[in-house]
Symmetry: D2
Subunit: 475 residues, 4 copies
Amino acid sequence: MSHHSARFPVVDAQVSPTGRMEVLSRTEAARLSSQGQGGLKETFRNCALAVLNCGNPLDDGKELLARYPDFDIEIIQRSRGIKLDIRNAPASAFVDGQMIRGIQEHLFAVLRDVVYANGDSSGAGGAAPGRFDLGSSEGITDAVFHILRNAGIVQPVIQPSVAVCWGGHSISREEYDYTKRIGYEMGLRGLDICTGCGPGAMKGPMKGATIGHAKQRIGKPRYLGFTEPGIIAAESPNPIVNDLVILPDVEKRLEAFVRAGHGFVVFPGGVGTAEEILYVLGILLHPANAAQPFPLVFTGPRSAEDYFRRIDSFIGDTLGDEARSRYRIIIDDPAAVAREIHGGIGRVRAFRKESRDAYYFNWLLRVEHEFQQPFRPTHANMRRLKLHRDEPKHLLAADLRRAFSGVVAGNVKNEGIREIERHGPFEIHGDPEIMGPMDALLSSFVAQGRMKLPGTAYNPCYRVVPRAREEAPSA
Amino acid sequence: MSHHSARFPVVDAQVSPTGRMEVLSRTEAARLSSQGQGGLKETFRNCALAVLNCGNPLDDGKELLARYPDFDIEIIQRSRGIKLDIRNAPASAFVDGQMIRGIQEHLFAVLRDVVYANGDSSGAGGAAPGRFDLGSSEGITDAVFHILRNAGIVQPVIQPSVAVCWGGHSISREEYDYTKRIGYEMGLRGLDICTGCGPGAMKGPMKGATIGHAKQRIGKPRYLGFTEPGIIAAESPNPIVNDLVILPDVEKRLEAFVRAGHGFVVFPGGVGTAEEILYVLGILLHPANAAQPFPLVFTGPRSAEDYFRRIDSFIGDTLGDEARSRYRIIIDDPAAVAREIHGGIGRVRAFRKESRDAYYFNWLLRVEHEFQQPFRPTHANMRRLKLHRDEPKHLLAADLRRAFSGVVAGNVKNEGIREIERHGPFEIHGDPEIMGPMDALLSSFVAQGRMKLPGTAYNPCYRVVPRAREEAPSA
Amino acid sequence: MSHHSARFPVVDAQVSPTGRMEVLSRTEAARLSSQGQGGLKETFRNCALAVLNCGNPLDDGKELLARYPDFDIEIIQRSRGIKLDIRNAPASAFVDGQMIRGIQEHLFAVLRDVVYANGDSSGAGGAAPGRFDLGSSEGITDAVFHILRNAGIVQPVIQPSVAVCWGGHSISREEYDYTKRIGYEMGLRGLDICTGCGPGAMKGPMKGATIGHAKQRIGKPRYLGFTEPGIIAAESPNPIVNDLVILPDVEKRLEAFVRAGHGFVVFPGGVGTAEEILYVLGILLHPANAAQPFPLVFTGPRSAEDYFRRIDSFIGDTLGDEARSRYRIIIDDPAAVAREIHGGIGRVRAFRKESRDAYYFNWLLRVEHEFQQPFRPTHANMRRLKLHRDEPKHLLAADLRRAFSGVVAGNVKNEGIREIERHGPFEIHGDPEIMGPMDALLSSFVAQGRMKLPGTAYNPCYRVVPRAREEAPSA
Amino acid sequence: MSHHSARFPVVDAQVSPTGRMEVLSRTEAARLSSQGQGGLKETFRNCALAVLNCGNPLDDGKELLARYPDFDIEIIQRSRGIKLDIRNAPASAFVDGQMIRGIQEHLFAVLRDVVYANGDSSGAGGAAPGRFDLGSSEGITDAVFHILRNAGIVQPVIQPSVAVCWGGHSISREEYDYTKRIGYEMGLRGLDICTGCGPGAMKGPMKGATIGHAKQRIGKPRYLGFTEPGIIAAESPNPIVNDLVILPDVEKRLEAFVRAGHGFVVFPGGVGTAEEILYVLGILLHPANAAQPFPLVFTGPRSAEDYFRRIDSFIGDTLGDEARSRYRIIIDDPAAVAREIHGGIGRVRAFRKESRDAYYFNWLLRVEHEFQQPFRPTHANMRRLKLHRDEPKHLLAADLRRAFSGVVAGNVKNEGIREIERHGPFEIHGDPEIMGPMDALLSSFVAQGRMKLPGTAYNPCYRVVPRAREEAPSA
């Protein structure tokens, strides 16, 4: 049944699981319907709405809830399993009154992960209470592993093939077409695609790979999408994603990428992309990871050359040449990128085999507790970052990552936007030698329109404050 | 590599998972290899040995360990997943040096369930610490559900089809052939078979059904085997079982049967079979279950008529006619039994649909806490049973069940056998009106050779002591 | 192994069947290797080369053979089946030295169909000698059926879903993108795509549908490609096609379309497209087909509106309003086209069910012998066409179809091009009332660049000669 | 709908294809319904009835038709494919009113093969007119290949695994159980089973293998049954057979066995078994086949030792020691038989690989025209056999084979029985040195009850006439 409203048409529907089947215990069903203590209703409802809103560019978490105030989702128990009763859902999720199957699967992926891993609504971090030991680095890694395993992502036997693609959700047509060509070339070489869901550089490679996979008759290609409740509204998964996982927070999502992926491609993007670059470089700079093969390519069409030159300079200025040695920049050559990743994954395979590490999960990669702990982007936390030249490089990378993470939150996340509305822009303090390049980089993002969706003016949510070390506020 | 010893030849092997794939976290693998606090090594090793010993009749848990003192099993991590390194395994698990695939699958089922559900070696009940709330009736049911779901037993969409078959592991050739004929007729009607694993009445229906399923081209027939660590050595799963689950204890195993099964067939057997009959009648006598359709047929060849007449009398004498109304006795008519179960499952289906209960798990069946709590068969606990005419019928059934359970333990379980060795036979006290029929029934089992495997003399592990109520010892 | 030549790099390879497996008898293998009487080597070699050349726009059958003079293909017998030994194949069929799987499948489809249906190299019509009775209308239809059945195209049980797409292989970027959008909308609605293979309007709908099918998780989408030895060099199948059939000649290919398809979409094209339109209208004008639902939509982007207006006028001028009533023109509305076809197929389904005709083959459609007999485009045959107003409409349509067919041959087919080289342009005679509109239509095709691939000048292979009836040459 | 008649209850039903789907052209459907020239109705009806009568021991082809005089089968065309409308079919083919799926598949296998290969009702040999050249040895082999390929039996890629089992349809319980044990051991080793359909030694190995395959989780085990219209009534395929092929006549059926099988086991049997033994030895004695590995084992329980001793003597007396060197006799050791066949198939595999012959069809085996030509068992033909010591051994084997073939026909085939009724027993003439052993062997078959089903008295259909060569009648 569809209703017609002026701007945002909605539809009611009942949907059954498709493909992977979900069975809930009575307790689990009750928690999904409960809004009280231990209840999961709100998280489930919000993520479900985001999934249903796919295809509608939007980068303001708050706005989605405002558009569909009457949206609701309920679990119905039937003899043959559960159904979802959905009201006032975005009409774009339907074709002639039928929900698109890919979106239907996403709804049940949301349900699965919210039950399994996002149990705690107390704000303490997300993962199901009691199930994991989130106080230790090993415990967090274990949680990421279990969430991926429960989602069917971790599979033995199969060969390494996961190419992670990072990049902006708001990119130009030319850049978007370029991401499709890269996906096509990777698909022709049998690589699977993993992205953060959402439009732009996260969708293009999957579309291209779909054509490549079809030509190669790859029967069960994998299009992995890793997201988290805070970003899913702005980066709604496109329905090609056939393995969607909702990790509990930003840090576990990033850890999922680096442990489940085998090769890494970075397309042009904005601050989110910079955050991902700094996260991965921070990890790779750790001495324990020095020997790990880790194929990492920055690429774009000719027009993106300047963008990557600036990123490269920024990395050189702040983290130095060792960091620069961990990636290659390839401009306007999709087949070369695909060959580079394909070959690199071959080296990853040999390394894992040699060291008896699993193909499906990079256990050997050292991810310091620093990179695992959730960062709440408050004004106080942002001000407290240590952006100094004399910090160890991988810790400096960690705090630079947090700085960009805060800007992402201020740009598109519900919580971050509210902070900014309440207290004004974040202040980011640090050595002038770091603040200078950072300001330049952020300004170039603004100038290139990489901060927001096209057609909207950007109002910066941050202020860069160069300051000598002694001036830093105490933690 | 095979070694030749005088009596029990052994083989070494490395095996990979087949069919369902298992992936372990580093923590899980460590626990399976550890014998200390929280370690699972011993349970894993013992269950694995039982699985490998299939096909060798044996009903003394102690003896198995004595036969293969050098048996060992280790987990090896490889890039494509885990392997098991097995030493000094019973040669009968192999054909020309290759492990039988069905047994290989059973090893990985053992691994899966020991990791998931049998975590606690402290003896407090078995299920993984922290995962379930075993203090409440709902919590125990939830644990049973989760263990079955984790094992892939609980599947939505498919129609009710599970025929549970109970009966002796030590039966005559004629009775065994009869169980095959029943299995064949049920297989022809598309029913799946669920038993407690092991030989005799637990194997025959599966063999028969295999032929019936082949003729009906049933692509993925299900042969479910539910066992528990205490009984698996004596009732080693036959390799036809393609969904093996190791529940943590007797009571959860029984609950798994009644919640996952749709129809129930009881063949001749010994005390174990009597235990199962009393368990199910005790539950069905609960007023909350009065409306539940629950197809239950006792059947055997002509020669078993007397056996069932005695059981029927015993039930009439102790639990009364209401209990007798919950089952049908059908002698020597396999097609009639199969039609009765098939029709009954049709009524179960209608009832579940009507009441919106799941086809795959009987949530509505009330199983009182009494029936869920593990019963440790010590001399004190056996003496304390309340076998009095004026107890509520379903509680009397519960204690009768425990009495038979104790005899089973004394006959074939490692722990029970040691108790008897140490303290002599169990004493079972109760009203003469109950103790009389009980003694008669047990004596008839001894006379009919239903207590032990053929060719061994039976030495009773119990003593029936009729006593008026006032004489009962206080709890 | 790859060789580098100045312009057309080539590769050697040995390939095994993938997907559908082919087994040859000794006799069949011998015929495929033989160039003499009854030998199939030349047809096999030429079609194989066309298949391997996919992705390289080319519309001159002669040129392909000139580009790869050393290309060769041999059958090798191995214990596990046959292999193909290929030398000097176009390098574009390979990715990093591996043949694209889709192309590999096409090679074996060529092999299958050449063995089964293209046995006769004598030119007498193509189908395997002795197997079919090609002298009767029923016999020809039977041959088409058997060829499709042997290719696995005719499948029972499945619902009608085949949307045939016709249109030019040489279209503008805007038109091409439009065909992708139509394909996408049809894919979202679960429709399968059938085209004549080749680039342009025959490739776009498949690419679009691939994305739509991925979003709908359609497990085994069908991309049917029907071609014939005379056209395959110019319209090399794109590798998305996963059910390729090589029919023996133009007429059987056209009959395959109308009998296996359920809905029909016509995009802008050139004379080939006009030929297809006249063929289908000629059949639909037969009184026996008056009651058949037959969804037929002409569609294109806004810029194609003029093109279809001209076609529509031409049909009105020559065949009249009854013909015009059998199609709908929809401009620039992909979702509307998909809905129209989807709905129309629903009516086809109802009609077939009602009349007990097969979903998988339109047996009831009357195709007159006139439309089935191969037309050899010689100067004499072209001159002999009866393009007169007073012919019965469906016979006039048949001869108009032949006229356009001759122009296609003169434009792109090996044999036709040689005829023109030898004897100059074809002369097409007829009533001025028909010749006028025909000349106008053909001229508009030339003006719009629809006669040849972009970037080549068109040199007409025909001359329109209006002439009153009495002037017609005798047959 | 079921009817009750005094002795032979019947059922009406409509059945659809299951598993492999069949699609008929209009012409094919018409021929199956036609009884006139080129019509296939009678063959189809008779074979269909035989298939439906499975499970009812019967060895007189005439009797079956008498039991079910009103049986009829019609093809119905529906939109989703064909259905069969069946009237007055044997009730034993149904379970609770539903036709057993295996039997349903057999009906459609009959349909497929009758259409494809048994087209000619003129009696000239069976295969579809025009399709094959039955005048040459190569042409007949080609026909066998095409019939098997059309039935999906000939499959590339898979490894050699087909163990052909020959033996009596009327054997003792002990012998039957032994054939099950052999099947079980072969199933455990992954071998597929091929027999001539029917009960006894043709059913036991399949039942045993079904259990072995289940334990080894062999997903798609193959149970091949090769039969022919003349024998199918007496040897109705058991429903475990999942690849049934109806070859046109005795000789093509035998050739199918030796070309599609990889290992050969002979159980005790009667004249049919002797016929098979002589057929295979005749072929193996040809010098061109001397180098071919061809695993051939005669086996039975201890009680069958005498039987095989007699066969062995007969072979020694008539064909000599070279013939005796081509088989092994193994008594009462199922695992040894399975290992012998399994190892022998390994040698077959190596030989085929080395000689590049197909795994799926033994092209290299020389089968002389002598062994391929249908033998019509008339009194004249029987009298004309050349059973002389100085014939070349492989030709003597051929005529001995024909002699036994004639006795089979006289025992159980419709046509043969009528001949005997009309003209009295066949006369078999030959050298006393051959006639002596032959008479002894046949007499021992009679004495051991191997000529007929248990419980029926045997009335010999032949008379052995020793006679010196010069007395032989002219051909």
